[in-house]
């Protein structure tokens, strides 16, 4: 029976209540928790103890990859594979290569930013147990939800209930 329960969820009307509740849940020692809100809340990161994502580093790495592949491309083409003198410039005429290399840097970084975010978020996720709560449809409208997942080592359903009700 208990294995089928994904977690226990509480609904709140305001972000303040959600953040308060999240802090209490965190202080009570729960770690497998999550909050749902219709817009980003900066306070919830601290309240739930969410660590800063590694995403910025991935994006930086994406940008560097774009830079290197852009430089590699122009070097390969104009120095190695098809060297041709245009306008009396050297084969590797860096100033003239800046625009395409620059654009490739931005392109790669932006692609990593978006697809990295989706990947780390586990999206697309057509199904998720939270959608089984009928009132959860309001999470994209006006309500705020807090969940303690059943796989949290501290979960014993009764206590869990009390913590959320008190909040």
């Amino acid at each position: 029976m208990e294995q089928n329960i994904y977690g226990i969820m509480a609904e709140f009307d305001t972000p303040t209540e959600l953040v308060d509740a999240a802090r209490q849940v965190r202080d009570a020692g729960y770690t497998k928790t999550d909050a749902f809100s219709p817009f980003p809340l900066h306070e919830i990161d601290e309240a739930l103890g969410i660590k800063r994502s590694i995403l910025p580093y991935l994006i930086f790495a994406g940008g560097v990859t774009g830079l290197l592949s852009g430089l590699g491309l122009v070097y390969f083409v104009h120095v190695f594979d098809y060297p041709i003198i245009v306008g009396g410039r050297p084969h590797f005429s860096l100033p003239a290569f800046i625009p395409p290399v620059y654009e490739l840097t931005i392109l790669f970084a932006a692609l990593v930013a978006v697809f990295g975010m989706l990947f780390l978020n586990g999206l697309p996720a057509p199904y998720h147990p939270v959608f089984n709560v009928p009132r959860f449809a309001f999470a994209t409208r006006e309500k705020f939800f807090l969940i303690i997942e059943a796989k949290d080592p501290k979960v014993r359903l009764r206590r869990e209930h009390e913590v959320l009700w008190k909040a």
Partner: protein, 482 residues
């Protein structure tokens, strides 16, 4: 509650008018998309736009069947309407990125209710723009892939030192990043539509498009990082794109094109033209869909001010073009300036340009005109015409009188030049109409954050733990006496 509101009113002009809650904001904006009955004016507008768009289809087919010769382009005016329209459209697109990215980085809250359709405008304008450099080539069926780095069977590569190749990289990157930025901004709102849609099919489509977004705190955390970094990437991108477009001219050697002022002057012109287009779109839109609560007079006034500022930079650019022509002491440059302003046959286009871009915006110094929707709309249309003329002046009047008098000639557009241009306008508005019907025109989740209720209020127990936190969460909306 009343105190809070009064205090907020005093501290900054209202970005949302009327009494709104999270639910009312959500319902009001998403109803435009989800309402069963599409307003009648939508059908009329869409039908007109769609018919005009057919003109584009017809012109493109005619062009592909016969060649560039159907246009008025000839020696020595090798570029004309094609590149004018390209630069015009891509310039219009820039305001969307400016609003969504640069104003986000500058923490300007007023961007929130206009960024969604400004970004849509960017995408559609870039779609119209990207058509021209492709179709203006003699052999577009080859250009479509030869312009990208791909060696042909003879092992010949594109020349990466050419501004036209830079253009390909800039415009394609810009289109991709703008589309990503727009779509990322849409995901939470598509999830809202998914949860609110009654129609089974719409629900399915919005569910598929929102990729299972559920508003989890961890997701929001990464989402915000992505959104901010995308804004940070788009900002240098948008500045580089129009700089690179201006390189098409400034890297060349034609008098009137070869000018170092071009990149900043083009970027300012792009933002100028783009804000004019945003105003042209948002003034009717806010009335049609009764969005006056979200797109307030404050928004219009701010946009008018940006238009005035960028317009003045553009006017400075005109002055500098004249100055450099004289200062260069090159007979060709001096002749170009004289020819452009009073001696040449196209003098009228220059003075019309000065009227549209230089004189008409001076009205915006006055509060009376800034706050009148009628005048803003009129000035925006004049500016759009003016920015088109600017590219006409730069491209056509520079080319038609270049170095050797023996090759001088006049340019006049033919019917296919006009149909193609007007056709892209129809195509643009067709896309805008579809967007207005199927996608929330205002970013719902961002508007929610503007409501006073969105602030998390601190508690006294936290005060001892983290002083900064309380400072921050008390924010400006808490009554000081609490």
């Amino acid at each position: 509650m009343q105190d809070e509101k009064d205090l907020q009113e005093k501290l900054r002009p209202a970005m949302i008018e009327g009494d709104h809650s999270f639910a009312s904001v959500t319902d009001k904006i998403s109803d435009v998309t989800l309402k069963k009955r599409t307003p009648f004016h939508w059908f009329i507008g869409f039908a007109i736009a769609f018919m005009v768009a057919q003109l584009l289809l017809f012109s493109v087919i005619w062009l592909l069947a016969n060649g560039i010769g159907v246009w008025g382009n000839n020696q020595p005016v090798g570029w004309a309407f094609d590149i004018i329209n390209f630069v015009w459209w891509i310039g219009i697109g820039h305001a969307g990125t400016l609003i969504s990215a640069i104003l986000l980085l500058l923490n300007q809250k007023w961007r929130t209710s206009i960024n969604r359709f400004a970004e849509a405008m960017t995408l559609f304008a870039v779609a119209c723009a990207a058509m021209f450099p492709l179709l203006h080539t003699g052999r577009p069926w080859l250009a479509a892939y030869w312009l990208f780095p791909y060696p042909n069977t003879m092992g010949i590569w594109p020349n990466f030192r050419s501004p036209l190749i830079w253009d390909v990289f800039a415009v394609s990157t810009y289109a991709t990043v703008s589309a990503l930025f727009w779509y990322v901004g849409l995901i939470p709102d598509l999830a809202t539509l998914r949860d609110r849609a009654k129609n089974k099919y719409f629900k399915f489509i919005y569910a598929a498009l929102s990729w299972g977004w559920r508003g989890s705190a961890r997701h929001w955390h990464r989402y915000e990082i992505t959104y901010l970094i995308l804004a940070g990437l788009s900002t240098p991108l948008v500045l580089s794109v129009h700089s690179i477009v201006s390189f098409d001219f400034s890297v060349s050697q034609v008098p009137g094109w070869h000018a170092t002022i071009f990149p900043p002057y083009f970027v300012a012109g792009a933002v100028f033209a783009g804000f004019a287009m945003v105003l042209i779109l948002c003034i009717p839109l806010r009335h049609m869909y009764r969005m006056q609560d979200f797109i307030t007079h404050t928004h219009l006034v701010y946009m008018a001010k940006v238009m005035l500022a960028t317009g003045l930079i553009v006017v400075y650019g005109y002055a500098m073009e004249g100055f450099f022509g004289w200062y260069s002491a090159s007979q060709y440059e001096v002749f170009m300036v004289k020819n452009r302003i009073w001696e040449g046959p196209y003098w009228w286009s220059y003075w019309l340009l000065i009227f549209c871009n230089g004189l008409s915006i001076q009205l915006l110094w006055f509060k009376r005109f800034r706050e009148s929707e009628f005048w803003l709309f009129l000035i925006s249309i004049i500016v759009s015409v003016g920015m088109w003329l600017e590219r006409f002046v730069i491209i056509v009047t520079s080319l038609h009188r270049d170095f050797l008098p023996s090759s001088w000639a006049m340019y006049s557009p033919r019917v296919w030049d006009w149909t193609m241009f007007i056709g892209t306008i129809g195509f643009f508005f067709t896309l805008i109409y579809l967007f207005v019907r199927f996608v929330p025109i205002i970013s719902i989740f961002e508007v929610r954050t503007l409501l006073p209720d969105a602030n998390v209020h601190g508690h006294h127990q936290d005060f001892e733990e983290n002083v900064n936190e309380v400072e921050y969460t008390y924010d400006r909306t808490d009554p000081p006496n609490e």
